[in-house]
Symmetry: C2
Subunit: 196 residues, 2 copies
């Protein structure tokens, strides 16, 4: 609600986009602290001062570069017993082509804002999705948290730490192994909770 201008193309849009692209790559590869404005500017083939002009500060640049939407699909169309499988497949696809989440994850260790961002993404976006499954609303938060722990753990070991067995696993096998885990977190119940 701050700007009502619908689409005013600026001559510098190409530069802005180049900066953002370089920033995402550097933040994803090096983390927040190691990714320097000078390096990002060099990648984008412009002067470091341009970054300041267009994004105000390094924090501002990161905030712009780390805009991220899980783009969760409409899960009501999916058979209820295939939810975990569908979610894992979706996340794998979502990450392979967009390094924003990797940048966010790397930065979360150094930049408090990045951790907050992740918290929001996986609290708001995931929780609302989980809430549609009709399980006890009191458990929604926990279920979303558990799903996040496995999904982020997968991203961590696959893209940041790069554990060889996890990196080598083909997507189909990841789905076959991790899918049931997510499925149980979404619709199952913990161990030792008595008979059904």
């Amino acid at each position: 609600m701050t700007e009502a201008v619908p689409a005013r193309p600026r001559r510098s849009d190409a530069t802005r986009a180049a900066i953002l692209r370089a920033a995402r790559a550097r933040f994803a590869a090096d983390g927040y602290d190691r990714a320097t404005i000078r390096a990002i500017a060099a990648d984008a083939r412009i002067d470091p001062s341009m970054v300041m002009r267009y994004y105000g500060s390094k924090e501002g640049l990161f905030a712009a570069a780390a805009e991220f939407d899980l783009r969760l699909p409409d899960l009501t169309q999916v058979p209820p017993d295939r939810l975990g499988e569908a979610l894992v497949r979706h996340f794998l696809n979502r990450w392979e082509g967009d390094e924003t989440l990797a940048a966010l994850l790397r930065a979360a260790s150094a930049n408090p804002g990045a951790a907050e961002r992740i918290r929001h993404i996986f609290t708001d976006q995931l929780s609302t999705a989980v809430a549609t499954f009709g399980t006890d609303p009191a458990t929604t938060g926990r279920r979303a948290g558990l799903v996040a722990s496995q999904i982020l753990g997968l991203a961590l070991t696959r893209y940041i730490v790069r554990l060889p067995p996890v990196v080598a696993m083909p997507p189909a096998e990841v789905v076959a192994w991790v899918g049931p885990t997510i499925q149980r977190y979404l619709t199952g119940r913990p161990e030792g909770e008595g008979p059904c």
Copy 2:
């Protein structure tokens, strides 16, 4: 094989220990880049140059501070259907009292050596433990990797990102939810693999 001296106490052992304690705390709280030698030295109430004298460099200090042993218990004593539960419980206990793993995890984003260290820990120590279960040796690496993905994901969401629902979950409930996941990664089979 480099030093045959068994136990030669030095007068500076207290200082060395203070440095190491402060370093672990700072690395865990701030990550590798943000944790400055000056701050660590101030915490330990000594001069920054002492850190250099005793540990050579910031890298050397981190290497010393990030020495970490999973201390996996003897899992052959545990009933085979309680393995997941036992492992999750062990990791929770291991972490609550020792911030080394948190430091390692935070640093993994910025320090390539830290990621390598984690890779070693979870490849060597975990794999050898998994290998004792008699499952097909060809799947040992993958099973260890999957276990690592869930365990590290739990640590990430609980101690680094601090997702509220995961932080709030009492240990017993974490065990009840995550235990079966680890159990399946250890001894189960992926989905859609045909009849038993």
